[in-house]
Amino acid sequence: MTPNGAIAFGLLVIAAAIAARDLVSLAVVLALLTVFALASRRSIVSALLWSAGIMLPLAAFMALVWVGIVGRAPHEIAAGTEGSRAAAAAYVTVVCTRLFVIALAVQALFLHFAAWTPLGFVRALTAPPVARKLLVLTLSLIETILHAVDRARTALIAGGIVTRQFSWRNLRHGWILVQTVWLIVVVIAIGRTRDKWPIEATLSRLDTALGASAPRLAAADIGWGAAGLACLIAAIGLR
C-alpha cells in the first residue's frame, strides 16, 4: 500500500463516519476500519488504546454536559420539545463513536507505515515539491524545537525562573520559556540557512531525495479505495 492510497482510504472512511447518522452505520464504518488496521499485520491494541484515551475524557465531559446539565438532545431543543436524558445519552453515544472512528482511522494509517521513516513517507506522497520540502523541513525543525525546549526548560528551572510542577511562577514566566526557545531556534535556523546548508548543499540533496520516483498507487490501494467508497455510500444510504 502507498501513502497516497492510505490517505485516500482514510479520508473516505472519515467522510463515511461524518455521513453516518446512527450507530448501525457507524458500526459498519468501524468494522471496515478494524479490518484495515488488522491488515497491517501489527497489533492494533495500541491504536485502540490511544483512540480510547483521546475519546474517554471527551465522552465523560460530553455526558456531563448533555445528559447531566442540558438533559435533552439538540433535535429536541430545535423542535422545542421537553426532551429526555435518554435521547441526550443516545446523541452523545453517536457523536463519541464518530470521533472514536476518526481517531482510530489516523492510528490505523500509522500502523500501515510504522516501519517507514518520515522522509520515506513524505517522498512517496504525491504532492507539490514545495509542500514535500516544507513537510521535511518542519519535521526536522520540530526535533530542533523539542531539543531547545528541553535545554531552555532545564536552564530556566535551574535558574529558578520556572518550576517543574504547576505554579504561579510558571504562569508569570511561561512566556520567557517560549521566547528562549524561539531565540535558540531562530539562531539555529539562521546558521543553517546562511552557512550550513549552502556548504553542504542540503537543499539540493533534499530535492534529489524527494524527486526520486515512487509508485503513485498500488493494487492494494484500489481495493481499499473501493471498500472505503462502498462504506461511504452505505453510510449515506443508511441515513
Binding site: V65, P74, I142, I145, V149, G174, I190
Partner: protein, 204 residues
C-alpha cells in the same frame, strides 16, 4: 514567494505551533496557544500581504496536520479557522509590526493593539469554528467553554447560537494571549532573520 528563508520561516512557525502544545503541557498552562506560529508568520513576512497570508496559512495548516497525526486527531477540522486567523493576522494584526518592535517598548499602544487585534482574531475565530464545534463535536469540545454552551442551551438558545456565544466569550481571551506572545516573539526575533524574509530588491 516561497524563497528558502520563507520556507524555513513557515517550517519554523509550523513547528512552533506543534511544539507549543508541548511547552504548554510542560509548564501546565491552562490555555491553548495553538496559533502563535500562524500569527507570528504573518508578522514576519509582512509587508508582503499576499505572501503573509499564504505563508501564515501554510504554517498553520502544517501545524494542525502534524498535531492531528500525533497529538489530537480532531485539530485538522479547524482548517478554516486557521485560514481565518491567517487572514486577520496578515491583513490587520501585521499593521502593528512597527509598534510591536518599537524601542523602547511603549506600553499603551503596544498593549492596546495587542488587545484590539486579539479580540478581533478571537471573534473571527469563534464564528468560523462554531460550525465545526457543533457538527463534529456536538457542541462540546472538552474545554471549559462547554459549560458556557450548556448554560446558553439552558437559556433556550439553539445549539449553533450557543456554540457561537460560548466561543465569543472565551476565544477573544485566548487569542489576545496568543497575539501577545506572538508580538513578544516578533519583538525578540533578530533583525537579521526578518531581513532575510524580505523579497530580494532588484539591482539598480
Amino acid at each position: 514567494m516561497f524563497t528558502t528563508p520563507r520556507l524555513v520561516a513557515i517550517a519554523l512557525c509550523a513547528a512552533l505551533n506543534f511544539a507549543i502544545g508541548n511547552v504548554v503541557y510542560l509548564v501546565k498552562l491552562p490555555i491553548y496557544l495553538d496559533s502563535i506560529g500562524t500569527i507570528l508568520c504573518a508578522l514576519l513576512i509582512f509587508p508582503d500581504r499576499i505572501a503573509a497570508i499564504c505563508c501564515a496559512f501554510i504554517a498553520g495548516l502544517i501545524g494542525v496536520i502534524l498535531s492531528g497525526l500525533v497529538i489530537n486527531p480532531f485539530l485538522p477540522w479547524f482548517t478554516f479557522s486557521v485560514l481565518a486567523i491567517a487572514l486577520v493576522s496578515a491583513l490587520l494584526t501585521a499593521r502593528a509590526t512597527d509598534t510591536f518592535r518599537a524601542q523602547p517598548l511603549v506600553p499603551l499602544p503596544f498593549f492596546g493593539k495587542v488587545i484590539l487585534y486579539g479580540v478581533i482574531t478571537g471573534i473571527v475565530s469563534a464564528v468560523v469554528s462554531a460550525p465545526v464545534v457543533v457538527y463534529l463535536f456536538g457542541g462540546v469540545t472538552g474545554s471549559g467553554s462547554a459549560f458556557l454552551v450548556a448554560f446558553f442551551l439552558k437559556t433556550g438558545e439553539q445549539l449553533l447560537n450557543a456554540a457561537v456565544l460560548a466561543g465569543l466569550t472565551t476565544e477573544p481571551i485566548d487569542k489576545t494571549l496568543q497575539v501577545l506572545v506572538a508580538a513578544l516573539l516578533y519583538r525578540a526575533t533578530p533583525r537579521e532573520f526578518i531581513a532575510m524574509l524580505r523579497p530580494a530588491q532588484p539591482a539598480t
